[in-house]
């Protein structure tokens, strides 16, 4: 069973009291427990079961402007005492940093909304197995599918965040995730693709038949790929890839990158960084949202931010420390964005495909070719060549490259946004990027 609030609170206050007693001027404690159970299948037979029960505590102690931190998975009082003493001793010899401080009291979250993030349903492993069996049967109907790997994970978490200014809050959350990875083979090639579903509530996850069918179809479509020639060509990014640009954007507008001067978006607030049709929103209070948060990792209240309005950058993602450095108030984004998304564009998915006679449609990228200092972007890609709105053939072993400064201004979004992840984007087209191939 997941640890209850009372237990977590008692550990948090034990630590805060002890830190105070030793002489810490301030302290923050986070205590969490997470239990997850996974069952995995491979080729229609049981492959693995995995149960995980994790406790974690992290403590930051301050002596005025000096700070240091410890973390542990061992919650026995005796161990905590040793660690807090060590933390306090370390704090003493750590140099001062004028920006170190707890969040401003008036910014701390007061009213904790119920965002319906916890579903207490428990699915026995046998029931998980029934779900996966249906899923794998559907995924392996076509003979070209030579391997299937599927899993079902149920996760329940609870946490408490407490600080020496009297903040003490936390809440439970849950997730139910099913995934299917399929491998298809023909005389020319072997390809892999996947589909998955993840929701806070059990009843909201996709039907297993649908999941298996989509995984298999997407994989078979990739067989016998060709390499195309190097070219400047319009690229459409499937939703599972286009959301990645939002994650990069979030990294580049985090107050820490801005304060350190290591972001290509430094000093760009109130400037046009996207084309004027683009709006980006970060909404923390989405009911059942995968990224929903009642407060950030410092206890600061979170409110909806219109990060980009008509292409103009309005806000950074600000935490207390870097906010003080930049002379900005925390907007509750210590720990990053919440439910981050592009608002829908005006054009339909079908019309987007038809918008140019020749388009590269990217379904997967590999590599870590994103440089947030310069905005340079270069990754390996897999996808399809689309001609006059029709998928002609699969493409692989190519790279795509550009620079975010130009790419962001050349984005066209379709109107097919859905909330599948914590970061979500409609299908996206970018003009003017370079494809390197033959």
């Amino acid at each position: 069973m997941i640890k209850e609030q009372e237990y977590l609170k008692s550990k948090a206050s034990y630590c805060l009291d002890l830190a105070k007693k030793l002489g810490a001027t301030d302290a923050i404690v986070t205590v969490g427990n997470s239990i997850s159970e996974t069952v995995s299948f491979r080729n229609k037979v049981l492959d693995e079961s995995n149960r995980s029960d994790s406790l974690a505590i992290s403590i930051e102690t301050y002596i005025d402007k000096k700070k240091s931190s410890i973390s542990s998975s061992n919650l026995l009082d005796e161990n905590l005492k040793t660690l807090i003493e060590k933390c306090f001793e370390t704090t003493k010899i750590t140099p001062e940093d004028e920006f170190n401080s707890l969040p401003d009291k008036e910014l701390l979250a007061k009213n904790i909304k119920d965002l319906n993030l916890y579903d207490q349903s428990h699915l026995e492993n046998d029931k998980k197995i029934d779900y996966i069996k249906e899923l794998e049967e559907t995924a392996s109907i076509d003979k070209k599918i030579i391997n299937t790997e599927s899993g079902f994970t149920e996760n329940k978490s609870n946490f408490i965040l407490a600080n020496s200014d009297g903040f003490c809050n936390g809440y439970k959350s849950s997730s139910f995730t099913a995934s299917c990875v399929t491998v298809a083979k023909d005389e020319n090639s072997m390809e892999r693709d996947y589909e998955f579903t993840s929701k806070c509530h059990l009843n909201d996850i996709s039907n297993p038949l649908e999941l298996g069918r989509v995984a298999a179809e997407q994989t078979i479509k990739k067989l016998s790929p060709k390499k195309i020639g190097s070219d400047k060509i319009s690229i459409i990014f499937d939703k599972r890839i286009s959301k990645g640009f939002l994650s990069s954007f979030a990294g580049a507008i985090s107050a820490s990158s801005i304060a350190r001067g290591t972001s290509f978006l430094k000093d760009k607030v109130n400037e046009q960084i996207f084309s004027n049709s683009i709006n980006i929103i970060d909404k923390p209070d989405l009911i059942k949202g995968m990224g929903s948060k009642c407060f950030d990792s410092e206890g600061v209240k979170t409110e909806t931010l219109n990060l980009v309005n008509s292409g103009i950058l309005n806000n950074y993602l600000v935490d207390t420390y870097n906010g003080k450095k930049l002379n900005l108030k925390s907007n509750g984004r210590s720990g990053g964005s919440t439910n981050l998304y592009f608002e829908n564009g005006k054009i339909s998915y079908d019309d987007l495909l038809k918008s140019h006679s020749k388009i590269l449609y990217v379904t997967e990228t590999i590599g870590h070719g994103t440089n947030l200092v310069t905005g340079d972007y270069s990754v390996g890609a897999t996808g399809f060549l689309v001609e006059d709105g029709e998928f002609k053939y699969p493409v692989n072993e190519i790279t795509i490259a550009g620079n975010f400064n130009e790419m962001f201004k050349n984005i066209t979004l379709a109107n097919d946004l859905e909330f599948k992840y914590s970061v979500n984007s409609p299908t996206m087209m970018i003009d003017g990027m370079t494809v390197a191939g033959k």
Binding site: S71, V183, S230, H368, G380
Partner: protein, 470 residues
């Protein structure tokens, strides 16, 4: 060595009984216990940004029946917690009728000392080095706009208890020292990163003010990048420098030769054993036995002593890397490659120090033979799609080659290639094999483990360079 049952309600006899109850009808499995202490100290933006100490304790109980793995882990080492894990495993494997394989090789070799690097250097002296790094770089060059330097160190003690009570232990130190510098000149910003590390004390790596060399190297890479031009796009010849660029071997070949992907037939190499997969003269080994290296292990995370496994010999595919499970199912043995990030994860066959051995040519000969291509000296991360065999990696320092001569530096570009065929495109192997500086972490299935790589300079006849200049 940690006594895991001290201060618990468990005696060693209780533990053996629970293990026996759990594993008696299984083919394999063990109780894995882990106690790790780690620290990270970070200087950034002229200040000590964070100093963190962490202590993590936990166990993982694993039972294997034929192909099925049941695993349960927890932080609470207690009778109740261990019994509940045992119950969870038995409910998954209720119809198991296996025979436990007791066989496990033994070793007297040790590839590192049982030290705790965190305690061997005082916090004050670590802070002092970080501050010196910051001052040194900022005084050295007025274009230096940002300096980040960090120490990270850990000591991990593990104990593996098998059915029948056999216990295997290991104490593993690991450190890393890293410097990153950002330069700004004429509105342009570029970074350079360099680091060193391995399984010794901090001071073993920082002798004779060696931190200065780390600073110089980070600064040099950043300076080169300040002058870089857009990279070319398309297929061309690529010369790789020695050392760290061997992550190409790691991504392109290494992952595809891990036992699990081959047993499951999802690797592009699964039906190529004994066949020619590389040019003549190409020999690749994965070695866990090199003294004090980042990827070395005395025993792996199943208790098997590590070894030097020949993967490709003179172009011919000889062996896969195996853990106990995949070795048994493929009718071979473990190569001591069973690893896990920590007790929260199941064991997978993984790489240790993956190395391409030296050949006869010189780097000069390679460069001279190229009319148009690139010379890649250092890389950031890489990634591979095991199934299609396609892999990428990102250059962090590279130059154009024109008519046999090294030209201007080029901007970070992604290189993409095909794993099963890339080694057949290797037309020259250098005589200058070098190990990486001890900085690699390999990710697989959400688990990161420390690894090493090594290679000589090599010439690849055809690879796709992902620049912007057509």
């Amino acid at each position: 060595m940690t006594n895991f049952f001290d201060k618990t309600d468990l005696t060693r006899k209780n533990v053996d009984e629970i293990i026996s109850e759990t594993l008696k009808n299984c083919d394999d499995g063990e109780l894995y216990l882990e106690d790790s202490k780690s620290e990270s100290i970070l200087l950034d933006d002229n200040k000590i940004k964070s100093s963190n100490y962490s202590s993590d304790l936990g166990f993982g109980l694993r039972a294997i029946s034929n192909e099925v793995v049941a695993y349960s882990h927890s932080n609470e080492i207690s009778k109740e917690s261990l019994k509940s894990s045992s119950q969870n495993l038995r409910s998954t494997l209720k119809s198991s009728k296996g025979t436990y394989n007791h066989e496990i090789p033994k070793t007297n070799n040790k590839f590192y000392d049982e030290i705790n690097p965190i305690e061997q250097k005082t916090l004050n002296s670590k802070l002092e080095v970080l501050n010196k790094v910051n001052e040194y770089l900022r005084n050295k060059d007025s274009t230096v706009k940002q300096v980040t330097a960090s120490f990270s160190g850990e000591q991990k003690s593990i104990e593996i208890i098998r059915l029948g009570g056999e216990a295997l232990t290991d104490v593993r130190p690991l450190i890393r020292f890293n410097v990153s510098v950002m330069l700004e000149k004429n509105g342009r910003k570029e970074t350079g990163v360099y680091g060193i590390g391995g399984r010794q004390s901090y001071d073993d790596y920082l002798k004779n003010d060696n931190w200065k060399n780390v600073c110089e190297e980070a600064l040099r890479i950043a300076s080169v990048n300040l002058e870089s031009k857009p990279a070319p796009a398309g297929e061309m010849k690529v010369v790789l420098g020695p050392g760290w660029p061997a992550i190409l071997i790691h991504e392109a070949i290494g992952h595809g030769l891990e036992g699990d992907f081959n047993r499951k037939k999802t690797s592009a190499f699964h039906d190529l054993m004994g066949q020619k997969v590389a040019s003549e003269g190409v020999t690749i080994v994965d070695d866990g036995t090199i003294d004090k290296r980042r990827g070395s292990l005395t025993i792996d995370d199943e208790g098997t002593p590590t070894e030097r496994t020949v993967l490709i010999e003179n172009g011919i595919l000889k062996n896969f890397m195996q853990d106990r499970l995949n070795g048994r199912l493929m009718n071979t043995r473990s190569t001591g490659s069973g690893r896990r990030e920590n007790y929260k994860h199941i064991v997978l066959p993984r790489m240790r120090n993956t190395m391409m051995l030296s050949g006869k040519q010189t780097q000069d000969e390679m460069i001279k033979s190229v009319d148009k291509g690139i010379f890649a000296v250092s890389f950031g991360g890489g990634q591979v799609d095991i199934t299609s065999g396609k892999f990428v990696f990102n250059c962090t320092e590279a130059y154009e080659i024109n008519n046999g001569k090294i030209g201007s530096p080029i901007k970070g570009a992604t290189l993409i290639g095909d794993g099963p065929s890339i080694l057949k495109e290797v037309s020259m192997v250098g005589n200058d094999m070098m190990m990486d500086p001890g900085i690699g972490t390999c990710g697989k299935a959400g688990q990161g483990v420390p690894v090493g790589v090594a290679q000589p300079s090599i010439l690849i006849d055809k690879m796709t360079v992902g620049g912007t200049k057509i």
